[in-house]
């Protein structure tokens, strides 16, 4: 299914300097096509999370130009309402059941109650969470909570999904499983996805492009294309070509 509302991101010479004088990002030039899955990897402090915050409109650029669908990030977010952001922390509201957590974005937008009901049920079904609908976050495992967070992010049918190390706290098996699920959902709706991770393996498995950043100041060191077709099977992880790409990117990281 084609998404004609997926977002395009254009960054030209984007830089961010904090009030303290620390230069977090420098000369970021990046073009992200509608419906593409792009990962960003890099060492701690390279500004990858900061870049996501700029795209989401939570922070403002100091220099350069950043647009989403040719609009400044905040306007794009407020007018088009196509943005969802999955934060590192699942950030679920502990006093609400799963059902109500997923409903939150629609509630905030003033969607009618009947509509909310149908859409939440649909969404929970899609993400495989309908058994847990009445549970509270403290009754769920870390992985479950992240899935609820993703379900919440997807309920508004976004054109742009930002994800900041969402699976970082999970063990390897949990992470693999959620990678598969995420790809399944993405193949279905093809939103633009900008995915930040520490794991090169994960980046390569999920994305079409991997952006490698270096730290202090944060700059783009390299961009690698990953050409495997979708859907991507688990066995891809043991593919020799996969391994070579991972090795090349890892070298870039260390170098």
């Amino acid at each position: 299914m084609e998404r004609d509302l997926a977002a395009t991101i254009e960054a030209r010479g984007v830089g961010l300097t904090f009030e303290t004088g620390l230069e977090a990002l420098q000369e970021i030039d990046l073009s992200i096509d509608a419906g593409s899955f792009v990962s960003i990897v890099g060492p701690s402090g390279c500004g990858k999370s900061t870049f996501l915050r700029l795209v989401s409109g939570l922070s403002h650029v100091s220099t350069g130009e950043l647009t989403i669908n040719q609009l400044p990030p905040i306007e794009a977010r407020q007018q088009q309402r196509q943005l969802s952001f999955v934060l590192q922390d699942a950030t679920l509201l502990g006093w609400r059941r799963v059902w109500n957590n997923v409903a939150l974005p629609l509630e905030l937008r003033g969607v009618a109650e009947a509509d909310i009901k149908t859409r939440v049920e649909e969404n929970l079904q899609r993400v495989g969470l309908n058994q847990m609908a009445n549970l509270f976050p403290h009754q769920l495992s870390g992985g479950m909570r992240m899935r609820v967070s993703i379900a919440r992010a997807l309920i508004t049918d976004p054109g742009l999904l930002l994800m900041d190390e969402p699976f970082g706290a999970l063990d390897e098996i949990g992470r693999h499983r959620l990678n598969d699920e995420l790809l399944g959902l993405w193949c279905d709706r093809r939103w633009t996805c900008l995915f930040v991770t520490h794991s090169v393996q994960e980046a390569v498995f999920l994305s079409q492009r991997v952006v490698v950043m270096s730290a202090q100041p944060g700059r783009i060191r390299a961009v690698h294309e990953v050409d495997f077709p979708y859907p991507r099977p688990r066995s891809l992880r043991t593919d020799p070509e996969f391994g070579r790409i991972v090795a090349r990117i890892s070298e870039d990281l260390e170098g």
Binding site: S56, L58, Q78, D89, L93, G94, W95, L108, F136
Partner: protein, 268 residues
């Protein structure tokens, strides 16, 4: 699911036993020790009455004591509820503007430190004596913990949750009612636990200074009179009933606490 519910019921019962049996046991030991002390030292009942004398006093004056406790309880409940509602609104006000908080917080602290002796005559002049004045004192004494704890709960939102609501461009109103207030509930209940005991003290002290019983014979009135008349066993009975009232309040609020906080269990 059913199994879980049964487990809940048994868990509650166990919790209740754990809560009430140790104090009761200790109480038994204390009462026995008390009687022994009085006998050993040969103390006169007007100095330190033993449990036997106090029980007699309770039996003789049960009607007055029950009436007094219920009057004091009414004042304490009213004072507490008022302080909870007012405290909540003041805290909401504080949470919405750092400037307002900084300007007015010192006055909230003043409420905690002001000696009632100094303020009571003012209360009598503005609100009058009797039940109105007593409730006012109970209110003043109970207010600060509610303000302090609720404000803390409303303003201690973690940055990721803040970001979540900012990303959805939530309005100030939505942020208040869907994020800040639910987030503050555990803190509000902590404040309530502190204030409920204070409200009883406030009702009794309020009676000392603003009750002027000619119709309101609450525990404060009884304490002053039985002390002046040197009816010491009766005085002790009043003290016991006051303590009992405080414990009862605390128990009710703690139970409410536990019931409400089930869903917040690990919200932070």
């Amino acid at each position: 699911m059913n199994q879980k519910n049964h487990g809940r019921g048994a868990e509650d019962l166990r919790h209740w036993c754990g809560l009430t049996l140790p104090p009761l046991l200790t109480l038994g030991i204390v009462v026995a020790g008390w009687q022994m002390l009085v006998d050993l030292l040969g103390l006169q009942p007007y100095i330190l009455p033993g449990p036997v004398h106090v029980s007699e006093a309770i039996a003789t004056n049960l009607d007055s004591l029950i009436r007094a406790v219920s009057l004091t309880a009414q004042a304490a409940i009213a004072g507490f509820l008022l302080s909870f509602v007012a405290g909540f609104f003041i805290a909401v006000l504080f949470s919405q503007s750092a400037w307002v908080e900084r300007s007015l917080y010192p006055y909230a602290i003043f409420l905690q430190t002001v000696p009632i002796v100094a303020v009571a005559p003012l209360i009598v002049m503005w609100i009058g004596h009797g039940l109105g004045g007593i409730i006012a004192v109970s209110f003043i004494i109970s207010l600060f913990p509610i303000i302090a704890n609720t404000t803390a709960g409303l303003t201690s939102i973690s940055p990721p949750l803040d970001d979540l609501f900012a990303l959805h461009d939530a309005s100030r109103w939505q942020r208040l009612w869907k994020l800040q207030v639910p987030h503050a509930v555990p803190d509000m209940l902590t404040g309530a636990r502190i204030s409920c005991g204070l409200s009883v003290i406030g009702a009794i002290v309020g009676e000392f200074f603003t009750g002027y019983g000619t119709t309101d014979f609450g525990l404060g009135y009884l304490i002053i009179q039985t002390n002046a008349m040197t009816k010491t066993p009766y005085l002790f009975a009043c003290v016991l009933f006051s303590t009992g009232l405080g414990l009862l309040f605390f128990g009710v609020v703690s139970t409410l606490n536990r019931l409400i906080l089930r869903r917040w269990a690990a919200a932070r």
